[in-house]
């Protein structure tokens, strides 16, 4: 799952020079992930993995890094 999400982010949403070097705790928002990108990311996760992520938890704390996103998803699987 982690690899699929990573591939989606760097192929569709966000340009970085070295996607492989982008760590799980590196900051996606500082790297430039914008509001539309966040929405696409959440919808991708919901659709691809068949889970529902609550709107009221759509906070930077849950989305700032790949690691945090992974942990947020795990809480709702």
């Amino acid at each position: 799952m982690q690899e699929e999400i990573r591939a989606f982010i760097f192929s569709e949403l966000l340009f970085v020079d070295d996607p492989a070097g982008f760590g799980d705790e590196d900051d996606l928002l500082d790297a430039g992930l914008d509001s539309m990108g966040i929405m696409r990311l959440v919808l991708f996760v919901e659709e691809r993995f068949g889970i529902s992520l609550p709107d009221d938890e759509l906070e930077p704390d849950n989305l700032r890094t790949l690691g945090r996103l992974q942990r947020w998803i795990e809480r709702h699987r």
Binding site: D34, L43, L58
Partner: protein, 428 residues
């Protein structure tokens, strides 16, 4: 460079160019305006302008008609127009000079995709990048600025074309299905007649621009309000909702049940430096009925839910399929379909664009620091009104673009004041 056909979003903006001209305005010309803290090195800038078409031949291409379609034609040998002006001392005169630049008409097939205008004044200057919208979009012009000032990258990479890539992923029948999905969505929106700004019917009289600037503290407050009202994913929706309410407060025209606002969706990856040319956008609609417009928080919740449903249903991608189909229509017919609901009423209450912070941010322009930035865009008349929101150095600017003779100055004042109050949540 061989002939390169316009992509569906380029063709959409060419259709808008045709509509803008038919209403008596110059055409679909826009400008990215940078204020500089001194007089830049003109020769250095001129040299960069000379070099730019070698890397980006599209910057000096011209439109060529091929039946109902259009293509860019360039051998890359033409030069990028670079105009030097003396900047008028007082601010209103300077604004009139900029208005004259963006109101200068050229036939679509003779129009330069990009022109540089440097206005020099004592101790300061203004650099305006005027562009012809079929050539690129608002994000694209920010990338033009970056590549104009930097050598660190190669030429425009056709393989990075975001829009063509997305279209290429769908087969014919998938695109047909998407096109119908988009058409059904528009038919649903058309059940409610759009609220239009109260404007006169005379000659439009050229584009005028009113700037509403917000200092760093005010801008922070606005973005905090946006976060609180529309969440992480809806900054543009906050501006749209505030503008809808401001429109009603300033005074809307003859009736209408709902505000309907089209807004562009950038299809590039965030922070990507390519593609530069070609419009890489789709669009979505925000619609809110009078009953929703009366309550701020309810309005934002509604716009957020509507946007989420639209993205979830893939409507932004579906609009691409519809634009692709539209590319085969004569421009006038296409324009009529896009602009008017079935009963002939104008569909859009106003045009809107949120470009966010200038990205990448230029450290300097030929030896000068950039002190401010805003965007300008021609509009169709009616609705004769477009709102462009941009940010620079933590400060937001709302550029109110309107057909000069269609609105009374008092009405524009009322709109600007209502918008300020809404954005700062003074009216909440």
């Amino acid at each position: 460079m061989t002939l390169q056909r316009l992509n569906p979003a380029d063709h959409f903006t060419l259709m808008m160019d045709d509509q803008i001209r038919r209403s008596g305005l110059a055409g679909n010309f826009c400008a990215l305006v940078l204020q500089l803290d001194g007089e830049p090195d003109v020769e250095a800038l001129r040299e960069r302008a000379r070099d730019f078409p070698r890397r980006f031949p599209r910057a000096v291409a011209r439109l060529r008609r091929q039946g109902r379609r259009y293509a860019w034609d360039s051998d890359g040998t033409a030069t990028l127009p670079f105009h030097l002006h003396e900047l008028a001392c007082d601010s209103p005169a300077g604004e009139r000079q900029l208005a004259a630049i963006v109101n200068a008409a050229a036939d679509a097939e003779a129009a330069a995709p990009l022109e540089l205008h440097l206005l020099r004044g004592p101790g300061h200057a203004v650099l305006a990048l005027k562009w012809f919208h079929p050539a690129c979009d608002a994000k694209g012009i920010e990338l033009v600025l970056h590549h104009l000032l930097h050598d660190d990258t190669g030429g425009d990479d056709a393989a990075a074309a975001a829009l063509e890539g997305l279209l290429g992923r769908s087969g014919l029948w998938e695109r047909v299905r998407q096109g119908w999905q988009a058409k059904r969505n528009i038919a649903r929106l058309d059940r409610r007649a759009s609220i239009l700004p109260e404007h006169g019917d005379g000659e439009p009289g050229g584009l005028a621009v009113r700037l509403e600037r917000f200092d760093a503290g005010q801008s922070r407050r606005i973005l905090d309000q946006a976060r609180a009202s529309t969440g992480l994913t809806g900054t543009a929706l906050y501006f749209i909702g505030c503008a809808m309410r401001a429109l009603l407060e300033a005074g809307a025209g003859d009736g209408g049940d709902a505000c309907l606002v089209p807004y562009a969706v950038n299809l590039r990856r965030s922070r990507a430096l390519y593609p530069v040319f070609g419009n890489q956008v789709s669009f979505l609609f925000a619609q809110a009925g009078r009953e929703q417009l009366t309550q701020r928080e309810r309005l934002f919740e509604h716009l957020k839910a509507q946007n989420r449903e639209a993205v979830k249903a893939g409507l932004d991608r579906a609009m691409l399929a519809l634009m692709q189909a539209g590319s085969w229509l004569p421009l006038a017919r296409y324009g009529d379909i896009v602009r008017r609901a079935p009963r002939g009423r104008e569909r859009s209450s106003f045009w809107f664009s949120y470009t966010g912070a200038l990205e990448p941010r230029p450290a300097e322009v030929a030896g000068c620091r950039v002190t401010d930035m805003y965007q300008v865009s021609q509009v169709t008349a009616p609705p004769s009104l477009g709102l462009l929101v941009s940010g620079f150095d933590g400060r937001l600017t709302v550029s109110i673009n309107y057909a000069a003779r269609r609105f009374a100055p008092d009405w524009i004042d009322a709109l600007a004041q209502a918008l300020r109050a809404e954005l700062l949540a003074d009216a909440a």
